[in-house]
C-alpha cells in the first residue's frame, strides 16, 4: 500500500495519507461533522461510518452542507 493516495474531494484532486478515515479527512479539512453529508463513491455514509471507512486511491468524496437558498 503506497503511503500517499490520490483522492477527489468535492471535485478537487488531493494527495492524502493512505489508510486515513473519512472522519480524519474531515478533521484535517477543519470541517465539523455536524450538519454535513458525505458521499463516498456515490454512497451516502451514515455519520457513524465516518470513523470506520478508510480512503483508498481513486476514491471520490463529496462533502455537502446547507447554504442559503430559496427556490432555484
Amino acid at each position: 500500500m503506497p503511503d500517499t493516495i490520490q483522492i477527489q474531494v468535492n471535485g478537487e484532486a488531493r494527495d492524502w495519507r493512505s489508510g486515513a478515515t473519512v472522519a480524519e479527512l474531515l478533521r484535517d479539512l477543519k470541517i465539523t461533522t455536524e450538519r454535513v453529508a458525505v458521499e463516498l463513491n456515490l454512497e451516502i455514509l451514515d455519520r457513524a461510518a465516518f470513523a470506520q471507512r478508510s480512503l483508498k486511491d481513486g476514491d471520490r468524496v463529496e462533502i455537502l452542507s446547507f447554504i442559503g437558498g430559496g427556490s432555484f
Binding site: L29, R35, E39, I44, L64, F66, I67, G68, G69, G70
Partner: protein, 257 residues
C-alpha cells in the same frame, strides 16, 4: 391568530409565511430579515462545502435549527436522479425527513417538470421522506401528488424570482378546492399585496425569497410580508363581501330631510 396554526404531517407551524435564505448580502442580513418576517420555516439549499477556504461562516450558525424548521430543497435539480440524490444528502446532513422537492423543467422558466416531480416524490415517500413538492398551478397534478402521499403541495404563483404575482388566480383557487392538504403558494410573489391575495384566496401559507431579499430594503419588506400574510389570512377567515356591479348605500335613508 395564536390558535390558527398550520399543521403538516403532524408538525405544527406558527407562521404562515415561510422564507428562503438565498440572495441576501450576508448572513447577518439573512438573520435579521427572517426575524422581521416572523417566519418559523426557512428553506436552505444543499451544496458542496468550500474545502479550500474554511474561514467562511456557516448559514446555520446564524439560523438556529432549534428555533426554526430548516426545510432543505433540491434547488437546481433537473432530473429525478439528482433530486433524489440531493434529498438523501439533505437528510444525511441531518435536520429531518422534510424535503422541499423541486424537479425543474428548464433554465429559462424554472417551471417544474411535473412528471419528474411525481416520480421523484414516489421514490422519496417510500424512503420515509416528508415531501413538500414545488409544483405548477395545475389542480390535476396537485391531486396526483396528494394521492401518492405528499402532505402538502406548493404551487407557484409565477416563475421563481419573477415577482409577477399570482398569474393564474382561478387555477390556484381550483387547486385549493381540489386538495384536502395544505397549499403553500411558492415562488413568484413580488410585493405584499401578492402575498395577501394568495392568503385571501385560501392559501394555507406563502413561501418567498427574492421578494424580500431583492427588495431595496429587505428588512422592511420582510415586515411588510409578515403583515400581508396575516391580513390575507384574517380576511380569508372573515369572509369577504360579494362583488356587485352597482352601489349599495352604507347610510340609512330614514331620517333624511
Amino acid at each position: 391568530m395564536a390558535d390558527d396554526r398550520l399543521v403538516i404531517a403532524g408538525r405544527e407551524f406558527k407562521s404562515r409565511l415561510w422564507v428562503g435564505t438565498g440572495k441576501y448580502k450576508n448572513f447577518v442580513e439573512t438573520q435579521k430579515a427572517i426575524e422581521m418576517s416572523g417566519a418559523d420555516v426557512v428553506t436552505v439549499a444543499v451544496r458542496r462545502v468550500n474545502i479550500t477556504d474554511r474561514s467562511k461562516d456557516n448559514l446555520l450558525d446564524y439560523i438556529d435549527p432549534k428555533k426554526y424548521t430548516i426545510l432543505p430543497n433540491t434547488a437546481g435539480c433537473y432530473t429525478v436522479e439528482d433530486a433524489v440524490r440531493y434529498s438523501r444528502l439533505a437528510r444525511a446532513a441531518g435536520v429531518s425527513d422534510l424535503i422541499k422537492l423541486e424537479v425543474l423543467g428548464d433554465e429559462k422558466t424554472l417551471f417544474p417538470d411535473t412528471a419528474g416531480l411525481i416520480e421523484a416524490a414516489k421514490i422519496l415517500i417510500k424512503e420515509g421522506f416528508i415531501v413538500l413538492p414545488y409544483t405548477n398551478d395545475d389542480p390535476i397534478v396537485a391531486k396526483k401528488l396528494v394521492d401518492i402521499g405528499c402532505p402538502a403541495v406548493m404551487p407557484l404563483a409565477a416563475p421563481i424570482g419573477s415577482g409577477l404575482g399570482i398569474r393564474n388566480p382561478y387555477n390556484l383557487k381550483i387547486l385549493m378546492e381540489s386538495v384536502t392538504v395544505p397549499v403553500i403558494v411558492d415562488a413568484g410573489v413580488g410585493t405584499a399585496s401578492d402575498a395577501a391575495l394568495a392568503m385571501e384566496y385560501g392559501a394555507d401559507a406563502v413561501l418567498m425569497n427574492t421578494a424580500i431579499a431583492g427588495a431595496q430594503d429587505p428588512l422592511a419588506m420582510a415586515e411588510a410580508m409578515k403583515y400581508a400574510v396575516w391580513a390575507g389570512r384574517l380576511a380569508y377567515k372573515a369572509g369577504r363581501i360579494p362583488r356587485k356591479l352597482y352601489a349599495t348605500a352604507s347610510s340609512p335613508i330614514e331620517g333624511m330631510l
